[in-house]
Amino acid sequence: MYHYNDFDKAFVQERVNQFRAQVERRIDGSLTEDEFKPLRLMNGLYLQLHAYMLRVAIPYGTLNSRQMRQLAMIADRWDKGYGHFTTRQNIQYNWPKLRDVPDMLQALADVGMHAIQTSGNTIRNVTADHFAGAAADEIADPRPVAELIRQWSTDHPEFQFLPRKFKIAVTGSPNDRAVTKAHDIGLRMVRNAAGEPGFEVIVGGGLGRTPLIGKVIRDFVPQADLLPYLEAIVSVYNLLGRRDNKYKARIKITVQENGIDDIRARVDAQFERLKGEWGGFDQHLLARIEQSFAAPEFKTGGLEKFNAGREANPAFRAWTDTNLSAHRHPEHAIVTVSVKKHGATPGDATSDQMRALADLAERLGYDELRISHEQNVILPHVHKSDLPEVYATLREHGLATANVGLISDIIACPGMDYCALATARSIPIAQEIATRFDELKLEHEIGPLKIKISGCINACGHHHVGHIGILGLDRAGVENYQITLGGDGTETAAIGERAGPGFSADEIIPAIERLIEAYLTHREGAEETFLQAYRRLGMAPFKAALYPEKEGV
């Protein structure tokens, strides 16, 4: 993986030193909160309901074992022994003390990590397919390009005060696991007729108050033109984006108000101007970055142990059925480690769990780990003969839940248990749904189903693209949960449709149960997933199940 060069190291170290001095000046009273707030946000430090929160970037979700151990150390030393993995492939610490934050940032810098540009109207942490570099369906590893974008966007002098925050996601696979159509810019690697790799560029997607699926601005940008083309998009947005109204400031609104054709013409003109200035430096850089992402030398050695393990242990077999994905090397598998034990907080890992994962990665996973936007941890390269041992170790640490992609593999934002912007809680709803369907022993029968929960309209929990989306609201001083159906975050992206009036906290779990019963009743067979059934049947049967008293009126 990529290791910081001297420039990266010096830059991050300077920022730590700067922030240390700023914290001291805040505490001794020489900085007011108005002066300090933008500085702390630039370093990922938020103030929430019960404490500060430090948001640490995990660029394109990639970590090595040393970094994961450091995250565990930070959790133990300065927080409450755990961290929360987010839908932005970040990790958040919920309980830091102001005085300790400079030390936490130093500890991060020591392993080549930081919290820069995890806030503010800048280009945020670049996210990527969490199976990058491992997936069988991949054209090429998108992470070198993601790293190039990280370097280009970090501290970019022109893009520190954009009209609003700006999020870029990259995938190298036709199967979109990075929700590229719901980002300010989504990049999907494609090949042109001549077989050369390039990118389909999608702009103006986003969730939140005005959910929109991104539009293709160019169906093929050669890899060599990518950075100047991105620079052209962001600079057009920087001028055109609305600064008068926070709710209309994202590029999705710029695209909606001006039309994709107008934006395309402006971007093309800007691109022509910029392209000449570029001079190919980025391509040299990319070539160097690519070397550090070279795939490990995958070992071989047969699958006997794997097959014997599946024969002997039904629990192991069930886990391999749900938690493995196809690796590009036939004797390897991608392991998705569920951080969603039934009843636990989605995305929360204890320091012990982090260390166990780091050890596994180091011993049996070529020292690589990923964080997925679905709040799970990935061991991207595991030889199948090592899987029984991986599974046994995960079990010891409460990490072997066989539920990836199922109803209890829920995305939930922190909601009103932590977040100052929330209108309702989301974590307890996720916990209750997972617990309930575990009791019913139904989740394997239900099959693939994505429930996503947000604690307010900002939609950090991606509820709009959940097959079942749940949005927590405040209705006259009571928590209320609105259901959307039919959302999809993949290459066939769709925004879910509102089912009707919301449900109270007591009513929401039974409502989800009725929804699932309706699906099981109406599906054509076990092969027809919830989403497929919804697409075939439309809203009516699900609405009838959700609001039974309305029937026959």
């Binding site: 103030l47 309901l49 019960h50 830091p96 005085r99 907080t345 009571v478």
Partner: protein, 100 residues
């Protein structure tokens, strides 16, 4: 002359160093127990107390007024958000609920 009755308020904020929820007391100190806070029954006084709180930048961050009601244990929150702030998160026994 039909002015809406004023809902009593307390001044809430977060502690500068810990980030913990705190409330302003009648003797100008900050308490971690909302029940010990000053219940303000008059709108003009509430505005005044908020200005005072905002000037306490070396102690607290982000002061604001919250609706409260008088109880036998002192002022209590009316809205669920503010009730959560008196306890802590619901997924772990962390925050205030762990300390008391």
């Amino acid at each position: 002359m039909s002015r809406r009755p004023f809902t009593p308020k307390v001044v809430a904020a977060n502690d500068l160093l810990d980030g913990d929820a705190v409330w302003l007391t009648a003797n100008d100190s900050w308490t971690r127990d909302m029940g010990a806070a000053e219940l303000i029954e008059d709108e003009a006084i509430a505005e005044d107390r908020l200005i005072f709180a905002n000037a306490q930048a070396d102690r607290v961050v982000g002061a604001y007024l919250v609706d409260a009601e008088a109880t036998e244990f002192g002022p209590a929150p009316v809205h669920f958000r503010e009730a959560f702030r008196t306890r802590g998160p619901s997924n772990y026994a962390h925050g205030k609920q762990a300390e008391s």
